[in-house]
């Protein structure tokens, strides 16, 4: 959702700038074209990403699948998980959501966004218990 809003914001800014600033007025058709393209991205990309995002807690590992344009599959064995954390950005807090981040010794291994707060906390505690680590 953040990327969609960002794209929408940029497209509106381009349109407004091309209308208001006299030096940019000759480029209004280009600005309009860019704005239209960004608007399409803002409308299409978030639902596509939502449809592709999956996670599965399997017997011995966590499996993540995500990405609308770049398809990404991640496997994180439980015994490699160093710690898990829940995080809320300003947009997440606005809509009552949170994201879960999973870390291994190699760094951030995966994240699951768009979870309700109880779901995120339950998943965090579940993973921490399975992995044998303390949750953050």
């Amino acid at each position: 959702m953040a990327e969609g809003l960002g794209a929408l914001g940029i497209s509106l800014t381009l349109l407004i700038a091309a209308t208001v600033i006299p030096e940019l007025r000759p480029y209004r058709p280009v600005a309009a074209g860019l704005a239209a393209a960004l608007f399409v991205v803002a409308a299409v990309l978030p639902p596509l990403k939502y449809l592709r995002w999956r996670y599965e807690i399997r017997e011995r590992d966590l499996f993540l699948s995500r990405g609308a344009i770049f398809h990404n599959l991640t496997v994180i064995p439980f015994d490699r998980i160093q710690y898990v954390e829940t995080r809320q950005g300003p947009l997440d807090r606005l809509v009552g959501l949170a994201q879960l981040l999973v870390y291994t010794a190699a760094g951030k291994a995966g994240q699951i966004p768009g979870l309700s707060i109880p779901e995120a906390e339950s998943l965090r505690d579940q993973l921490a218990k399975i992995a044998g680590t303390d949750s953050v």
Binding site: I69, P77, R80, A105, A106
Partner: protein, 468 residues
Amino acid sequence: MSEAKNRLHPAAIPIGIAENGTRLGGFMAALLLGGRGEGFRWVLFGVGFLAITSVLNPVLRYLRTRYYFEGEALVIEGGGFFSRFRRVMPLDRIQSVDVVRKLRHRAFGVVELRIEVIGGGGHEAEANLTALKPNDAEALRSAVLRGGHGAEVHAAAGPIIQLGPRELLLAGATGGRVAVIAVMLSYLAQPIPGDRIFQRLFGEGQGVLTRVIVSLGAFIVISVLISLVVTVFVYWQFAVTVQGDRLLITRGLLETRQAYIPFGRIQAVRINENLLRRILKLASVSIVIAGYSGKGQEKTETSMLLPIASRGEARRLAAVALGTSEIQTADLQRAPSGSFMRRALYVLLPLTVPTGVAVWQLGPIGWAVLALSIPGWAWVFVAYRGLGSQLTPSTVTVRRGAFNRVTSIAKIANAQHVIHESGPGQRVFGLATVQVWVPKAKLSAVDMGTVDAERWFRHLSTTLLTLR
């Protein structure tokens, strides 16, 4: 129960002053030289304050620093002007103890001990004991490493690798970008009839071009000479010895170092071959170590396992570092031809609009703009040929690089998580990338065929669950 607390050697004071002088001397001189005029007395006050703290801080650090064993931990207490600390390091968390001897240490007959712990890896070592008598440093080092890993540090049988001045000069002459550029320029210049072209195109301007070329040549020669000198100084008497469960790397002329690296901390090995070294069938080997500190050039030098050797020697040492049987790098699986097609397309795509505009404005001759893609295609072809990968039951090997080829090898047991990724361009050509993440490094098998990528992903996902 704690033991008696030990102190640093008094030479820590002049050594600390000298280090502060090196760090701040230039800054203070610049202030004094540039700060004349209004407010110069404030500049003097500031410089004076810096000078006084540069002297007092080492004195305070010497007076406050103590080290001792407490149970199964090494405790270091210390502090300067503004803070004091007490650092407790469990012996089984200490992963390496390095002995460093710079010129200033030699002047006073002391050494510096740098201690790294598991999970560290910031810019500085976890603990620095800046001045110890060599015997005290050796006793502390042995006690720490023996207590940390529960194993006696075996006496070394002799170095497994030792480099003499000839090898170091070769490393200096073939290392770095300058030597590679020199080779490329010499190859490019061979077929060009330089004299005739200069006279035809530049006429009276020939003098300017000659001066430019001479300057460039002089720059390259000077850069190579500097590279030679620096390499010899940094890697003088370079030797690698196996001591029980760790490697001992010794090196250095003005600043000597002894680095003790436990085998269990080596996450991956990289065999580096720049263009010039590939022609001469030479390579260097570096290691990825979890939790090793240092930044920039110091980190590069610290992780260097072998500055120069034949390819066979490089592979042999890489296998020793990883604790595997012989490593093969010659018969890696190449990327499918779709990889070249995809990259060539990415070179061509940005030129479509300029070509269209050129054809519209200039007519059929506008198609010549496409010729701009030829150097890009040449680069893409060389990069494509550099791709390679191999999966064995216990190791994963990936290679990439156009002119500077890097072959990375890691044990699957060190992998933390695995990622299978495919972009839109890759999917069109039936390609995908598999990433194997180890601490401090990522090995990417780029542009594998879809079937191979899925096989890798399945095998790695399964093997990670069984190997530790």
